[in-house]
Protein backbone atom coordinates (compact mmCIF):
# COMPACT_ATOMS: atom_id res chain seq x y z
CA UNK A 1 0.00 0.00 0.00
CA UNK A 2 1.47 3.28 -1.04
CA UNK A 3 1.77 6.31 1.18
CA UNK A 4 -0.71 8.25 -0.93
CA UNK A 5 -3.39 5.60 -0.58
CA UNK A 6 -2.87 5.48 3.16
CA UNK A 7 -3.02 9.26 3.32
CA UNK A 8 -6.40 9.05 1.63
CA UNK A 9 -7.54 6.39 4.08
CA UNK A 10 -6.49 8.60 6.96
CA UNK A 11 -9.25 10.97 5.86
CA UNK A 12 -11.66 8.53 7.48
CA UNK A 13 -10.23 9.47 10.88
CA UNK A 14 -11.47 12.48 12.82
CA UNK A 15 -9.97 15.80 11.81
CA UNK A 16 -8.59 16.29 15.29
CA UNK A 17 -6.83 12.96 15.11
CA UNK A 18 -5.35 13.83 11.72
CA UNK A 19 -4.27 17.22 12.95
CA UNK A 20 -2.52 15.57 15.87
CA UNK A 21 -1.11 12.38 14.40
CA UNK A 22 -1.26 12.36 10.59
CA UNK A 23 2.38 13.23 10.12
CA UNK A 24 3.41 10.68 12.75
CA UNK A 25 1.29 7.98 11.13
CA UNK A 26 2.74 8.67 7.67
CA UNK A 27 6.23 8.69 9.10
CA UNK A 28 5.58 5.36 10.74
CA UNK A 29 4.31 4.00 7.43
CA UNK A 30 7.42 5.23 5.65
CA UNK A 31 9.58 3.55 8.27
CA UNK A 32 7.76 0.26 7.79
CA UNK A 33 7.89 0.53 4.01
CA UNK A 34 11.60 1.14 4.31
CA UNK A 35 12.20 -1.78 6.68
CA UNK A 36 9.76 -4.34 5.31
CA UNK A 37 10.94 -5.16 1.82
CA UNK A 38 9.71 -8.00 -0.34
CA UNK A 39 6.35 -8.95 -1.79
CA UNK A 40 5.21 -11.04 1.15
CA UNK A 41 6.13 -8.41 3.71
CA UNK A 42 4.54 -5.68 1.64
CA UNK A 43 1.39 -7.77 1.36
CA UNK A 44 1.41 -8.36 5.11
CA UNK A 45 1.90 -4.63 5.69
CA UNK A 46 -1.11 -3.81 3.50
CA UNK A 47 -3.22 -6.36 5.38
CA UNK A 48 -2.05 -4.99 8.74
CA UNK A 49 -2.97 -1.46 7.75
CA UNK A 50 -6.46 -2.47 6.62
CA UNK A 51 -7.11 -4.41 9.83
CA UNK A 52 -5.66 -1.56 11.84
CA UNK A 53 -7.88 0.90 10.03
CA UNK A 54 -11.03 -1.06 10.84
CA UNK A 55 -10.09 -1.62 14.46
CA UNK A 56 -8.75 1.85 15.23
CA UNK A 57 -11.49 3.98 13.70
CA UNK A 58 -14.04 3.53 16.54
CA UNK A 59 -11.45 4.24 19.19
CA UNK A 60 -10.23 7.31 17.29
CA UNK A 61 -13.76 8.70 17.32
CA UNK A 62 -14.23 7.91 21.01
CA UNK A 63 -11.10 9.75 22.02
CA UNK A 64 -11.03 13.41 22.89
CA UNK A 65 -8.30 15.57 21.52
CA UNK A 66 -6.78 18.76 22.75
CA UNK A 67 -8.08 21.88 21.10
CA UNK A 68 -6.12 23.53 18.38
CA UNK A 69 -3.30 25.67 19.53
CA UNK A 70 -4.71 28.96 20.63
CA UNK A 71 -3.77 32.13 18.89
CA UNK A 72 -1.15 34.07 20.71
CA UNK A 73 -3.15 36.30 22.96
CA UNK A 74 -3.05 39.96 22.20
CA UNK A 75 -2.48 42.24 25.15
CA UNK A 76 -5.84 42.82 26.75
CA UNK A 77 -6.83 45.64 28.99
CA UNK A 78 -9.31 45.08 31.75
CA UNK A 79 -12.76 46.08 30.64
CA UNK A 80 -11.75 46.86 27.09
CA UNK A 81 -13.53 44.84 24.41
CA UNK A 82 -11.30 42.75 22.23
CA UNK A 83 -11.59 40.23 19.48
CA UNK A 84 -9.81 36.95 19.15
CA UNK A 85 -9.44 34.98 15.97
CA UNK A 86 -10.80 31.52 16.55
CA UNK A 87 -10.15 30.15 13.09
CA UNK A 88 -7.11 30.84 11.06
CA UNK A 89 -8.72 29.55 7.91
CA UNK A 90 -10.32 32.23 5.74
CA UNK A 91 -14.08 32.17 5.47
CA UNK A 92 -15.43 30.12 2.64
CA UNK A 93 -17.09 31.84 -0.26
CA UNK A 94 -20.42 30.12 0.38
CA UNK A 95 -20.47 31.37 3.93
CA UNK A 96 -19.92 34.93 2.73
CA UNK A 97 -22.69 34.61 0.15
CA UNK A 98 -25.19 33.15 2.60
CA UNK A 99 -24.35 35.77 5.21
CA UNK A 100 -24.75 38.56 2.70
CA UNK A 101 -28.07 37.22 1.47
CA UNK A 102 -29.45 36.88 4.98
CA UNK A 103 -28.31 40.39 5.89
CA UNK A 104 -29.88 41.97 2.81
CA UNK A 105 -33.12 40.06 3.38
CA UNK A 106 -33.30 41.16 7.01
CA UNK A 107 -32.64 44.78 6.04
CA UNK A 108 -35.32 44.69 3.34
CA UNK A 109 -37.82 43.21 5.79
CA UNK A 110 -37.01 45.90 8.34
CA UNK A 111 -37.49 48.68 5.78
CA UNK A 112 -40.79 47.15 4.63
CA UNK A 113 -42.09 46.96 8.17
CA UNK A 114 -41.03 50.51 9.02
CA UNK A 115 -42.74 51.94 5.94
CA UNK A 116 -46.17 50.71 7.02
CA UNK A 117 -48.46 52.82 9.17
CA UNK A 118 -48.33 52.16 12.85
CA UNK A 119 -51.71 51.72 14.48
CA UNK A 120 -52.32 54.08 17.39
CA UNK A 121 -54.32 52.76 20.29
CA UNK A 122 -55.37 55.64 22.49
CA UNK A 123 -56.58 53.31 25.19
CA UNK A 124 -55.84 49.83 26.26
CA UNK A 125 -58.51 47.49 24.89
CA UNK A 126 -58.65 45.84 28.32
CA UNK A 127 -59.59 49.13 29.91
CA UNK A 128 -56.27 49.84 31.58
CA UNK A 129 -55.31 53.49 31.53
CA UNK A 130 -51.96 55.05 31.61
CA UNK A 131 -50.90 57.03 34.68
CA UNK A 132 -51.22 60.28 32.75
CA UNK A 133 -54.76 59.39 31.73
CA UNK A 134 -55.62 58.54 35.34
CA UNK A 135 -54.28 61.89 36.58
CA UNK A 136 -56.14 63.81 33.90
CA UNK A 137 -59.32 61.94 34.69
CA UNK A 138 -58.92 62.73 38.38
CA UNK A 139 -58.33 66.40 37.65
CA UNK A 140 -61.37 66.55 35.41
CA UNK A 141 -63.69 65.08 37.99
CA UNK A 142 -66.26 67.65 39.07
CA UNK A 143 -65.64 69.07 42.52
CA UNK A 144 -68.39 69.24 45.02
CA UNK A 145 -69.28 72.60 46.35
CA UNK A 146 -67.69 71.73 49.68
CA UNK A 147 -64.42 70.90 48.01
CA UNK A 148 -64.55 74.03 45.94
CA UNK A 149 -65.29 76.14 49.00
CA UNK A 150 -62.47 74.55 50.93
CA UNK A 151 -60.06 75.13 48.10
CA UNK A 152 -61.20 78.68 47.72
CA UNK A 153 -60.90 79.30 51.46
CA UNK A 154 -57.35 78.01 51.49
CA UNK A 155 -56.48 80.12 48.51
CA UNK A 156 -58.10 83.12 50.07
CA UNK A 157 -56.18 82.79 53.32
CA UNK A 158 -52.95 82.29 51.46
CA UNK A 159 -53.35 85.64 49.83
CA UNK A 160 -54.75 87.83 52.62
CA UNK A 161 -53.16 90.98 51.24
CA UNK A 162 -55.47 91.04 48.32
CA UNK A 163 -58.79 92.73 48.63
CA UNK A 164 -61.77 90.75 47.58
CA UNK A 165 -61.75 87.25 46.38
CA UNK A 166 -58.78 86.24 44.31
CA UNK A 167 -58.25 82.55 44.54
CA UNK A 168 -54.76 81.55 43.69
CA UNK A 169 -52.88 78.38 43.17
CA UNK A 170 -54.76 75.32 42.12
CA UNK A 171 -58.10 77.08 42.10
CA UNK A 172 -58.15 80.24 40.18
CA UNK A 173 -60.75 82.60 38.98
CA UNK A 174 -60.58 83.02 35.31
CA UNK A 175 -61.14 86.67 34.39
CA UNK A 176 -62.65 85.55 31.14
CA UNK A 177 -65.42 83.80 33.03
CA UNK A 178 -66.94 86.76 34.84
CA UNK A 179 -70.03 85.89 36.77
CA UNK A 180 -73.04 87.99 35.89
CA UNK A 181 -74.86 87.37 39.15
CA UNK A 182 -75.47 90.15 41.65
CA UNK A 183 -72.58 91.18 43.76
CA UNK A 184 -74.34 90.20 47.00
CA UNK A 185 -74.65 86.66 45.79
CA UNK A 186 -70.89 86.43 45.75
CA UNK A 187 -71.08 86.63 49.56
CA UNK A 188 -67.70 88.25 49.91
CA UNK A 189 -67.55 91.11 52.30
CA UNK A 190 -64.74 93.13 53.68
CA UNK A 191 -64.43 94.44 57.19
CA UNK A 192 -64.51 98.18 57.25
CA UNK A 193 -61.13 99.61 58.03
CA UNK A 194 -59.53 96.29 58.03
CA UNK A 195 -56.81 95.41 55.61
CA UNK A 196 -57.62 91.73 55.63
CA UNK A 197 -60.97 90.78 54.20
CA UNK A 198 -63.21 88.39 56.05
CA UNK A 199 -64.35 85.38 54.18
CA UNK A 200 -68.00 84.85 54.90
CA UNK A 201 -69.19 82.61 52.14
CA UNK A 202 -67.49 81.42 49.04
CA UNK A 203 -68.24 83.37 45.98
CA UNK A 204 -69.76 81.78 42.95
CA UNK A 205 -66.75 80.42 41.27
CA UNK A 206 -65.70 78.74 38.16
CA UNK A 207 -63.02 76.30 38.95
CA UNK A 208 -60.14 76.17 36.56
CA UNK A 209 -57.68 73.44 37.23
CA UNK A 210 -54.24 74.57 36.33
CA UNK A 211 -51.84 71.80 35.50
CA UNK A 212 -48.29 71.74 36.74
CA UNK A 213 -46.96 72.48 33.29
CA UNK A 214 -48.68 75.82 33.19
CA UNK A 215 -51.35 74.69 30.80
CA UNK A 216 -54.90 75.43 31.82
CA UNK A 217 -57.28 72.56 31.42
CA UNK A 218 -60.92 73.48 31.53
CA UNK A 219 -63.78 71.18 30.82
CA UNK A 220 -67.52 71.50 31.39
CA UNK A 221 -67.27 69.04 34.24
CA UNK A 222 -64.93 71.28 36.15
CA UNK A 223 -67.23 74.31 36.07
CA UNK A 224 -69.43 74.56 39.10
CA UNK A 225 -72.15 77.09 39.52
CA UNK A 226 -73.54 78.22 42.79
CA UNK A 227 -77.29 77.93 42.69
CA UNK A 228 -77.79 80.71 45.25
CA UNK A 229 -79.87 83.04 43.17
CA UNK A 230 -83.37 83.69 41.96
CA UNK A 231 -84.64 81.31 39.32
CA UNK A 232 -87.70 81.41 37.16
CA UNK A 233 -89.24 78.78 34.96
CA UNK A 234 -92.37 76.79 34.20
CA UNK A 235 -93.58 73.26 33.73
CA UNK A 236 -96.45 71.56 31.94
CA UNK A 237 -97.28 67.90 32.37
CA UNK A 238 -99.23 67.35 29.17
CA UNK A 239 -99.80 69.44 26.09
CA UNK A 240 -103.34 70.34 27.11
CA UNK A 241 -102.20 71.83 30.39
CA UNK A 242 -101.34 75.49 30.81
CA UNK A 243 -97.82 76.48 31.75
CA UNK A 244 -97.38 76.49 35.48
CA UNK A 245 -94.95 79.33 36.27
CA UNK A 246 -92.20 78.86 38.78
CA UNK A 247 -90.19 81.28 40.79
CA UNK A 248 -87.55 80.14 43.23
CA UNK A 249 -85.11 81.90 45.50
CA UNK A 250 -82.49 79.33 46.36
CA UNK A 251 -79.78 79.62 48.97
CA UNK A 252 -76.94 77.22 48.88
CA UNK A 253 -75.12 76.38 52.09
CA UNK A 254 -72.49 73.77 51.35
CA UNK A 255 -74.25 70.68 50.15
CA UNK A 256 -77.52 71.83 51.64
CA UNK A 257 -79.99 73.90 49.78
CA UNK A 258 -82.57 76.16 51.30
CA UNK A 259 -84.82 78.95 50.19
CA UNK A 260 -88.35 79.41 48.99
CA UNK A 261 -90.36 78.67 45.90
CA UNK A 262 -93.78 79.18 44.45
CA UNK A 263 -95.73 80.22 41.38
CA UNK A 264 -94.42 83.79 41.54
CA UNK A 265 -92.17 86.09 43.49
CA UNK A 266 -94.92 87.18 45.88
CA UNK A 267 -96.28 83.73 46.69
CA UNK A 268 -93.50 81.70 48.18
CA UNK A 269 -93.29 78.52 50.22
CA UNK A 270 -90.27 77.10 52.00
CA UNK A 271 -88.42 74.28 50.30
CA UNK A 272 -87.03 71.32 52.21
CA UNK A 273 -84.85 68.30 51.63
CA UNK A 274 -82.68 70.53 49.49
CA UNK A 275 -79.44 68.95 48.41
CA UNK A 276 -76.64 69.87 46.01
CA UNK A 277 -74.30 67.13 44.92
CA UNK A 278 -72.02 68.14 42.10
CA UNK A 279 -74.27 69.28 39.31
CA UNK A 280 -77.35 67.63 40.77
CA UNK A 281 -79.89 69.75 42.62
CA UNK A 282 -82.90 68.28 44.36
CA UNK A 283 -85.45 69.66 46.74
CA UNK A 284 -89.09 69.29 47.72
CA UNK A 285 -91.85 71.84 47.96
CA UNK A 286 -95.11 71.44 49.79
CA UNK A 287 -98.12 73.52 48.69
CA UNK A 288 -101.32 72.47 50.36
CA UNK A 289 -101.85 68.79 49.70
CA UNK A 290 -99.55 68.80 46.76
CA UNK A 291 -95.93 67.81 47.04
CA UNK A 292 -93.50 68.86 44.36
CA UNK A 293 -90.33 66.84 44.14
CA UNK A 294 -87.68 68.47 41.97
CA UNK A 295 -84.82 66.50 40.53
CA UNK A 296 -82.64 68.86 38.55
CA UNK A 297 -79.26 69.05 37.01
CA UNK A 298 -77.30 72.23 36.59
CA UNK A 299 -76.69 72.70 32.91
CA UNK A 300 -76.01 75.52 30.50
CA UNK A 301 -78.19 78.36 31.79
CA UNK A 302 -79.60 76.87 34.93
CA UNK A 303 -81.10 73.81 36.59
CA UNK A 304 -83.10 71.57 34.30
CA UNK A 305 -84.84 68.30 35.08
CA UNK A 306 -88.14 66.92 36.20
CA UNK A 307 -90.69 67.67 38.83
CA UNK A 308 -93.03 65.05 40.26
CA UNK A 309 -96.30 66.38 41.58
CA UNK A 310 -98.09 64.18 44.09
CA UNK A 311 -101.64 65.14 44.99
CA UNK A 312 -104.82 63.37 46.17
CA UNK A 313 -105.75 63.10 42.49
CA UNK A 314 -102.63 61.21 41.62
CA UNK A 315 -99.08 61.71 40.55
CA UNK A 316 -97.83 63.62 37.54
CA UNK A 317 -94.38 64.21 36.22
CA UNK A 318 -93.27 67.05 34.00
CA UNK A 319 -90.12 68.54 32.63
CA UNK A 320 -89.03 71.78 34.18
CA UNK A 321 -86.47 74.30 33.10
CA UNK A 322 -85.14 77.29 34.99
CA UNK A 323 -83.23 80.32 34.09
CA UNK A 324 -81.75 83.06 36.16
CA UNK A 325 -84.34 85.58 37.24
CA UNK A 326 -83.75 89.12 36.05
Amino acid sequence: MSEKIYACLLLLFPAAFRRQYQQEALRLLRDRLRDEKGFFRQLRLGFDLLVDLIGALPRAYRNTYPKAASVSPAPRFEGAPSFQVLQKQPMQRGVVLIGGFVSVTALAAFIYVMQGPVAFHPADPKGHKSPIELVMEHLNQPLTVDEANKAASVAFRSDSSSVGYQPAGAVDQNPNLVDSRPAQSRAVTTSSGSASPQFVQPAPIRVVVRSAGGLTAQSPATVLENVSAGWTGSWRAVDGDPDFPQWFSLREDGAKLGGTGGPNRSTQYPIFEGLVVGESVSFDLQIGQRTFIYDLKFQDQGPNGTVSVTSPNGKRTAAVRFERAR
Partner: protein, 116 residues
Amino acid sequence: MPKRRLEPLPSAAFQILLSLTDEDLHGYGIMRQVEQQTSGRMRLGPGTLYSSIQSLLEDGLINEVDRSGERSAADQRRRYYRLTTAGRKVARSEAERLANLLRVARTKRILRGEYV
Protein backbone atom coordinates in the same frame (compact mmCIF):
# COMPACT_ATOMS: atom_id res chain seq x y z
CA MET B 1 -11.29 9.47 41.69
CA PRO B 2 -12.45 9.77 38.09
CA LYS B 3 -12.86 6.58 36.15
CA ARG B 4 -10.08 5.97 33.69
CA ARG B 5 -10.93 5.65 30.01
CA LEU B 6 -8.67 2.64 29.73
CA GLU B 7 -10.40 0.42 32.20
CA PRO B 8 -10.04 -2.45 31.65
CA LEU B 9 -6.71 -1.81 30.04
CA PRO B 10 -6.70 -2.93 26.40
CA SER B 11 -3.98 -5.26 25.29
CA ALA B 12 -2.44 -2.71 22.93
CA ALA B 13 -2.29 -0.08 25.66
CA PHE B 14 -0.74 -2.54 28.09
CA GLN B 15 1.89 -3.48 25.52
CA ILE B 16 2.66 0.19 24.91
CA LEU B 17 3.11 0.76 28.64
CA LEU B 18 5.41 -2.23 28.84
CA SER B 19 7.43 -0.99 25.87
CA LEU B 20 8.05 2.31 27.61
CA THR B 21 9.25 0.88 30.91
CA ASP B 22 12.92 0.92 29.91
CA GLU B 23 13.27 4.04 27.80
CA ASP B 24 11.47 6.82 26.00
CA LEU B 25 10.37 5.81 22.51
CA HIS B 26 8.74 7.37 19.49
CA GLY B 27 5.82 5.78 17.64
CA TYR B 28 7.81 3.55 15.35
CA GLY B 29 10.08 2.54 18.23
CA ILE B 30 7.05 1.57 20.31
CA MET B 31 5.71 -0.50 17.44
CA ARG B 32 9.01 -2.32 17.06
CA GLN B 33 9.33 -2.85 20.81
CA VAL B 34 5.81 -4.28 21.02
CA GLU B 35 6.53 -6.54 18.08
CA GLN B 36 9.67 -7.72 19.75
CA GLN B 37 8.22 -8.30 23.22
CA THR B 38 5.29 -10.25 21.73
CA SER B 39 7.56 -12.27 19.48
CA GLY B 40 6.02 -10.75 16.39
CA ARG B 41 2.45 -11.66 17.33
CA MET B 42 1.37 -8.04 17.72
CA ARG B 43 2.24 -5.41 15.14
CA LEU B 44 0.55 -2.14 15.94
CA GLY B 45 -0.68 -0.22 12.95
CA PRO B 46 -0.61 3.59 12.93
CA GLY B 47 -4.29 3.91 13.74
CA THR B 48 -4.24 1.57 16.72
CA LEU B 49 -0.91 2.88 17.93
CA TYR B 50 -1.77 6.55 17.95
CA SER B 51 -5.33 6.03 19.15
CA SER B 52 -3.93 4.10 22.12
CA ILE B 53 -1.26 6.72 22.68
CA GLN B 54 -3.94 9.41 22.71
CA SER B 55 -5.95 7.48 25.28
CA LEU B 56 -2.88 6.95 27.45
CA LEU B 57 -2.03 10.62 27.22
CA GLU B 58 -5.54 11.58 28.28
CA ASP B 59 -5.35 9.29 31.30
CA GLY B 60 -1.94 10.61 32.21
CA LEU B 61 -0.31 7.20 31.95
CA ILE B 62 2.30 8.49 29.52
CA ASN B 63 3.39 11.93 28.53
CA GLU B 64 5.16 13.47 25.59
CA VAL B 65 8.80 14.26 26.02
CA ASP B 66 10.63 17.24 24.63
CA ARG B 67 13.60 15.91 22.70
CA SER B 68 14.77 19.15 21.14
CA GLY B 69 18.32 18.40 22.18
CA GLU B 70 18.31 15.19 20.15
CA ARG B 71 21.25 14.38 17.95
CA SER B 72 19.62 14.24 14.49
CA ALA B 73 17.05 16.42 12.85
CA ALA B 74 14.90 13.39 12.05
CA ASP B 75 14.80 12.43 15.71
CA GLN B 76 13.95 16.00 16.68
CA ARG B 77 10.82 15.84 14.48
CA ARG B 78 9.60 12.65 16.11
CA ARG B 79 7.48 12.64 19.22
CA TYR B 80 8.82 10.68 22.10
CA TYR B 81 6.72 9.28 24.87
CA ARG B 82 7.59 8.45 28.47
CA LEU B 83 5.90 6.29 31.04
CA THR B 84 4.57 8.23 34.01
CA THR B 85 4.41 7.04 37.59
CA ALA B 86 0.70 6.48 37.24
CA GLY B 87 1.31 4.54 34.05
CA ARG B 88 3.86 2.36 35.80
CA LYS B 89 1.38 1.62 38.60
CA VAL B 90 -1.32 0.74 36.09
CA ALA B 91 1.08 -1.51 34.19
CA ARG B 92 2.09 -3.22 37.44
CA SER B 93 -1.50 -3.79 38.53
CA GLU B 94 -2.36 -5.13 35.09
CA ALA B 95 0.62 -7.47 35.26
CA GLU B 96 -0.49 -8.62 38.72
CA ARG B 97 -3.97 -9.24 37.40
CA LEU B 98 -2.51 -11.34 34.59
CA ALA B 99 -0.28 -13.12 37.13
CA ASN B 100 -3.32 -14.00 39.18
CA LEU B 101 -4.94 -15.33 36.06
CA LEU B 102 -1.84 -17.42 35.44
CA ARG B 103 -1.97 -18.71 38.98
CA VAL B 104 -5.58 -19.68 38.56
CA ALA B 105 -4.79 -21.33 35.25
CA ARG B 106 -1.91 -23.17 36.88
CA THR B 107 -4.10 -24.53 39.66
CA LYS B 108 -6.58 -25.58 37.06
CA ARG B 109 -3.73 -27.35 35.30
CA ILE B 110 -4.47 -25.49 32.11
CA LEU B 111 -0.87 -24.33 31.68
CA ARG B 112 1.84 -26.91 31.46
CA GLY B 113 5.47 -27.21 30.60
CA GLU B 114 7.90 -24.40 30.12
CA TYR B 115 5.27 -21.60 29.90
CA VAL B 116 4.88 -21.39 33.63
